[in-house]
C-alpha cells in the first residue's frame, strides 16, 4: 500500500525543543508560592518504628509542615494487584530507603536540613536480604497481616494467588498438556540460572508538583500512565476521579519505572497540610531507593528427544520483589507465561513466585519478566544443543512455532515468521561459514544466537483518542500517550496525518492532561504504535468521513469513503475549502476478554526479537569483548523507520548492559550501588565494536498499516546471545548475570565444560 507519511522519517516533533534546551519536563515546572519537599528514609532494612519526634524540625524557620506515618492519611496503601505500600512507613520500615517522614519548606535546603532534625527510634529487626533468607522457615514475616488485593481473571490454564506463603506476595502458574510426557523423553535437562537486577537510570528524576484547591488535586508528574495514576490517587485520597487531575509534560526517560505512585502521594499529602503547592523532586540517589528491576533465579527442567524435538518444560521462577508488591504480580505472570519461548511444546508447567525481601521494591522494567525468562530459556537451549550434538541454530529452527500457530492453546497466533529473523541474524554473523567459525575459535572467539518473544501490552489496556478540526483548519490530536522519548507523539501524529492527507506538523498534540484528553490505560509495553494507534486511526478515519461528507455537500457530488487507512483521496487543500467548519471524532480500542485465552485476553500482537553476538574471550582475564552485536525485530510495518531503529538500538544496548555491565549489589544487607556514583552505568565506551540493527516489516501487525509495538526485543536477546557466544568461543558456560570476568574465569576453571547435565527417561 502506498503511503505518504507513514514509513517516512520526518523530524521528531520534539527535536528542536530538545536540542535547544527548551523542552519542558515536570522537573521544570514551578508555580508561585511553591514549597519543596524532602523525605526522611529508614537507614535500616527492617525495623520497628517505635517513635517519631518531629518537633525540632517543625520549629525550624521556613518549615511549613512535617508528616509522619502516625498521620492516618499517610497510612493509606497503594500498589498494582496488591495494595501494600503505605505512603509513609508507620509501624515498620521494610527496607533501607522506606520513607518514614517528609517535610515541606520554603526552599529545598531548608527542607533537607529539617529532615535531619527528625528523631526516630528504631528497633532493628532481622533483615531479609535475599530470597533465600526470606523463604527460610524461621524467617520473620514482612507483613503480619495479609494486605488487600485482587487477582485478575485468568483464562485457560492460568492461576494466581495472593500471599500463598509467608513472604511470598504472589504466585502465578500456567500449565498446559500432560505431565506424563516428561517420562517418555530421551533426556530431561535440569538447569538453573540467575538474573541480576539493574537500575532504570532514567535521567529525569522522580518528580511531582501537587496543589490542592477546593478539593481538587492537581498534580504534574513525570509518569508514564496518567490515568492509572489518577485512579490510584483518587482512591488514596478518597475522592472521585474527576477531583484529581494529572498533567504530564515530556518525560525524561522511564523504562517502566514511572508507572504507579512515586513522588506524588508525599507531595499531595504535604500540599493538603500546608494549603500550598508542593514540589517533591527526588535525587537520583533516592530514585535508586525507590524502584529497580527484578533479580531472579530460574530453574528449567526441559524434556527433549534425542533428535532435538522439544517435548515439555517445567519452570520455577523466584523473583526478588523487594519490600512491597508494586508490579511484581504482573512481572511474575509475564515471566512464567513467557518462559517456554516460541517453541512447540506438548506440555508446559511454568510458575513464578514473588518473594518479599527487605530491599528496594522491584517494579516494571523494559521487557517485564521476559528478559528473565529469555535469559534462562535461550541459554538452556544452547546447553541442550551442545549436549545433544545439534547446532543451536538447527535446534531452534526445528522447534519454532510457525507463523499463524497459536503460542499456547487458546491464545492468539504467532504473527511473525520467527525463522526469517533468525536467518537474517545468522547471515549477518556468517554463522553458517564453518571454516570461519573454526578459525574464530582458535582466537578465543565465538558466535551465539538467541530469540526473544513476548506477548504485547494490548491486554487490559483500553485506549481512546480524539481528533478535532477547528474553524481555522487546525487539527488537534488528544490522547493520553506520554512522550517518554520513544517518539510516540511523532508516530501517532504521522498516523493521523496520513489518514487526513496533511503534513505531520499540521497536527497539534494536545498536552497530556487527564481533564482534557480521553482515557488511556498507560504508556507501557511498547503498545502505543498498535493499541493507541488503533484509537487514533479510528478517530482520524471518522474525521475524514465527516470531511468527505462536507465536501460532498459543498460540491454536490459524492466522494465516498471505503474507510481504509491508505485511502487518502481528500483534496490537498480540504482545510481551506472547509474553513469555518468544525469536525470532531473519537476513537476507541480495547481487546475483548476471552476466558479461553490463558491471560484472560488473547495477545494483541507478539513482539519477537532475534539477537546474535560475536565475542572474544580473554582466557587470562575472563574479559568478554563483544566484537559484533546483531539485533533484529519485526515492527510489522514501520510508522517511522528512524524511531524504530532508535528503539532497537536503545533496547540492544540496555540488553548489553544487562549482559556485561550493570548490576545492583548488596553488601552486608545494604545497597552498595546506592547512587549514580557507585553504580556502574553503561557508557559510550561499552559499545560493541560493531552494532548491526535490522528491523523487519513482515506486515502482520494488528495496528494501523500493519504496525506492531516495538522497543523491547533487543532487551530479551542480548544476554543469552553473548553467553551462548562465550560457550561457543571457549566452552565455558556462565549461568549467572552479568557475565563478569570473574564468572567467566570461574567457568573456564571448570575445564571449560558446562555444568553437569541431569539425564532421565
Amino acid at each position: 500500500m502506498t503511503t505518504r507519511t507513514v514509513g517516512t522519517a520526518p523530524v521528531r516533533t520534539d527535536a528542536l525543543a530538545k536540542v535547544a534546551g527548551a523542552a519542558l519536563y515536570t522537573v521544570d515546572i514551578t508555580v508561585p508560592g511553591m514549597l519543596h519537599a524532602a523525605a526522611l528514609r529508614s537507614p535500616y532494612p527492617h525495623a520497628r518504628i517505635v517513635r517519631v519526634d518531629a518537633e525540632r524540625a517543625r520549629r525550624q524557620p521556613g518549615v511549613l509542615a512535617v508528616v509522619t506515618g502516625a498521620d492516618p492519611a499517610a497510612q493509606r496503601t497503594y500498589g498494582w494487584y496488591i495494595k501494600d505500600q503505605p505512603i509513609l512507613a508507620g509501624d515498620k520500615a521494610r527496607y533501607a530507603g522506606d520513607i518514614v517522614s517528609a517535610v515541606a519548606a520554603e526552599d529545598p535546603a531548608t527542607a533537607m536540613a529539617a529532615v535531619e532534625l527528625i528523631d526516630v527510634d528504631y528497633e532493628p529487626l532481622e533483615p531479609l536480604s535475599d530470597v533465600e533468607s526470606a523463604l527460610r522457615g524461621d524467617a520473620p514475616a514482612l507483613f503480619e497481616e495479609r494486605p488487600a488485593g485482587t487477582t485478575p481473571r485468568y483464562g485457560r490454564g492460568a492461576s494466581g494467588w495472593i500471599h500463598p506463603d509467608k513472604n511470598v506476595c504472589y504466585r502465578f502458574r500456567y500449565h498446559t498438556g500432560d505431565a506424563t510426557v516428561m517420562s517418555s523423553c530421551d533426556h530431561v535437562f535440569d538447569d538453573s540460572f540467575s538474573f541480576s537486577a539493574m537500575q532504570h537510570y532514567h535521567l529525569e528524576p522522580f518528580v511531582s508538583l501537587a496543589s490542592v484547591t477546593d478539593g481538587v488535586i492537581d498534580v504534574w508528574s513525570s509518569n508514564q500512565s496518567p490515568f492509572s495514576l489518577r485512579r490510584e490517587l483518587a482512591r488514596l485520597f478518597d475522592r472521585d476521579e474527576d477531583r484529581v487531575r494529572v498533567h504530564v509534560p515530556l518525560v525524561g526517560g522511564a523504562f517502566g519505572a514511572k508507572n504507579g505512585c512515586k513522588a506524588e502521594p508525599v507531595a499531595i499529602l504535604l500540599a493538603m497540610q500546608t494549603g500550598r503547592p508542593v514540589r517533591f523532586c527526588m535525587t537520583a540517589a533516592e530514585g535508586f531507593l525507590t524502584q529497580r528491576q527484578h533479580s531472579a533465579t530460574l530453574r528449567l527442567r526441559t524434556g527433549v528427544m534425542a533428535d532435538g524435538t522439544l517435548i515439555g518444560r517445567d519452570c520455577e521462577v523466584l523473583l526478588d520483589a523487594g519490600a512491597y508488591a508494586d508490579a511484581s504480580p504482573l512481572v511474575a505472570e509475564k515471566a512464567a507465561y513467557r518462559a517456554p519461548g516460541p517453541y512447540r511444546w506438548q506440555y508446559v508447567d511454568a510458575a513464578a513466585s514473588c518473594v518479599l525481601t527487605t530491599t528496594t521494591p522491584a517494579g516494571p522494567f523494559r521487557g517485564f519478566g521476559a528478559p528473565q525468562a529469555a535469559w534462562a530459556s535461550e541459554s538452556q537451549l544452547d546447553m541442550i544443543a551442545h549436549r545433544l550434538g545439534i547446532d543451536p541454530y538447527d535446534l531452534r529452527v526445528k522447534n519454532l512455532r510457525e507463523l499463524g500457530e497459536p503460542y499456547m492453546p487458546g491464545d492468539s497466533a504467532v504473527d511473525s515468521d520467527l525463522r526469517s529473523g533468525l536467518a537474517a541474524v545468522a547471515e549477518a554473523l556468517h554463522y553458517h561459514d564453518r571454516p570461519r567459525r573454526e578459525a574464530l575459535r582458535t582466537q578465543g572467539r565465538g558466535l551465539g544466537l538467541a530469540i526473544g518473544f513476548k506477548d504485547s501490552g494490548g491486554g487490559s489496556k483500553p485506549a481512546s483518542a480524539r481528533v478535532t478540526v477547528d474553524g481555522d483548519g487546525h487539527v488537534t490530536l488528544r490522547c493520553g500517550t506520554v512522550e517518554l522519548g520513544q517518539g510516540a507523539h511523532t508516530a501517532l501524529r504521522q498516523i493521523a496525518a496520513e489518514i487526513l492527507g496533511i503534513p505531520v506538523d499540521g497536527i497539534d498534540y494536545a498536552p497530556v492532561d487527564t481533564a482534557s484528553v480521553p482515557f488511556d490505560q498507560g504508556t507501557y509495553a511498547s503498545s502505543s504504535s498498535a493499541v493507541m494507534a488503533r484509537a487514533v486511526a479510528e478517530a482520524a478515519i471518522d474525521v475524514r468521513r465527516q470531511v468527505r461528507q462536507a465536501l460532498t455537500h459543498r460540491d454536490g457530488k459524492a466522494l465516498g469513503d471505503r474507510g481504509r487507512h491508505e485511502d487518502h483521496a481528500l483534496p490537498q487543500d480540504w482545510r481551506r475549502l472547509l474553513a469555518g467548519q468544525v469536525f470532531d471524532a473519537s476513537g476507541h480500542f480495547e481487546v475483548t476478554p476471552d476466558a479461553d485465552a490463558p491471560l484472560g485476553e488473547k495477545c494483541f500482537f507478539w513482539e519477537p526479537g532475534w539477537g546474535g553476538a560475536e565475542v572474544e574471550v580473554d582466557s587470562e582475564t575472563g574479559r568478554v569483548r563483544v566484537r559484533r552485536l546483531v539485533v533484529c525485530g519485526d515492527a510489522g510495518r514501520m510508522i517511522n523507520p528512524e524511531l524504530c531503529h532508535g528503539q532497537e538500538s536503545g533496547s540492544a544496548i540496555m540488553g548489553l548492559a544487562q549482559a556485561l555491565v550493570e548490576h545492583r549489589m548488596y553488601a552486608h544487607g545494604a545497597l552498595a550501588t546506592h547512587d549514580p556514583l557507585s553504580y556502574r552505568v553503561t557508557t559510550f565506551t561499552d559499545l560493541p565494536d560493531e552494532l548491526d540493527l535490522m528491523v523487519q516489516e513482515q506486515g502482520h501487525g494488528p495496528g494501523p498499516f500493519g504496525a506492531k509495538g516495538y522497543g523491547e526485543g533487543g532487551m530479551l536477546v542480548v544476554a543469552a546471545a553473548i553467553a551462548n557466544a562465550v560457550q561457543d568461543a571457549v566452552g565455558a558456560r556462565v549461568t549467572d548475570l552479568p557475565l563478569t570476568p570473574e564468572r567467566v574465569l570461574h567457568a573456564l576453571d571448570q575445564g571449560g565444560s558446562e555444568p553437569s547435565a541431569g539425564a532421565a527417561g
Binding site: 527548551a22 540517589a285 536503545g650
Partner: protein, 163 residues
C-alpha cells in the same frame, strides 16, 4: 546560609553576569534559577553529564562546580551555542540523525561534542566514544549520537573545503 558572599563576574552566553553569590552556591543551581533550562541536573554527583556547560571551551559538570570557580570565565550553555535563531551545526546533526529520545541528556551531549570538534575537527568513531564517555544517555544506545557527531564533523569539514 551565609549572608556574606563572593563577588563574581563572568560571561554567560555572551552576556556579563556580575553578582555576589554564597560561597557554597553550585553553578547548576545558579544557572537553573536564572532560567537556563538547558542545564539539567540528574545525578547531582558529576558523573552523568546532563548538566554540562562549556567553561572557556571545556565541558564541566555544573552540578559539581561552585559559582565562584567560573569567575572571569566564559560560560556557554546550549542556549548560547548559536547567536542567531539558526541551530548550531551540531544541534542540526542531532536533529537530523535522531540522536535523541527523551532529550534529557541532549544539551549536555551537544556541548561536549562541540568541545570535541573544537579540539579535534576530524575525530574517529573511537575518539567520539571516548570523549563522550562522561555523558550518559539511557535511551538511544549511543550509536545515533556517534553518527551525529561524525556527521557534524563531516559537514564542518565540507564547509571548510568549500570556503
Amino acid at each position: 546560609m551565609s549572608r556574606s558572599g563572593i563577588a563574581v563576574s563572568f560571561n554567560l552566553n555572551g552576556r556579563t553576569v556580575q553578582e555576589t553569590v554564597p560561597a557554597q552556591q553550585v553553578l547548576a543551581d545558579f544557572l537553573i534559577e536564572r532560567g537556563v533550562a538547558g542545564v539539567r541536573v540528574s545525578c547531582d554527583q558529576g558523573v552523568c553529564g546532563a548538566c554540562t556547560a562549556l567553561v572557556d571551551g571545556c565541558p564541566i559538570a555544573t552540578c559539581a562546580a561552585f559559582v565562584f570557580q567560573v569567575d572571569g570565565c566564559d560560560v556557554v550553555t546550549v542556549e548560547g551555542l548559536s547567536d542567531s535563531d539558526d541551530l548550531h551545526p551540531m544541534q542540526r546533526s542531532f536533529v537530523d540523525r535522531f540522536a535523541m529520545q527523551c532529550g534529557y541528556c541532549t544539551p549536555g551531549m551537544v556541548l561536549t561534542a562541540v568541545a570535541l570538534l573544537n579540539r579535534k575537527p576530524d575525530p574517529s568513531p573511537d575518539d567520539v566514544r571516548r570523549w563522550l564517555a562522561g555523558n550518559v544517555c539511557r535511551c538511544t544506545g549511543y550509536a545515533s549520537i556517534v553518527d551525529a557527531v561524525l556527521d557534524a564533523a563531516r559537514r564542518r569539514h565540507d564547509l571548510r573545503e568549500r570556503t
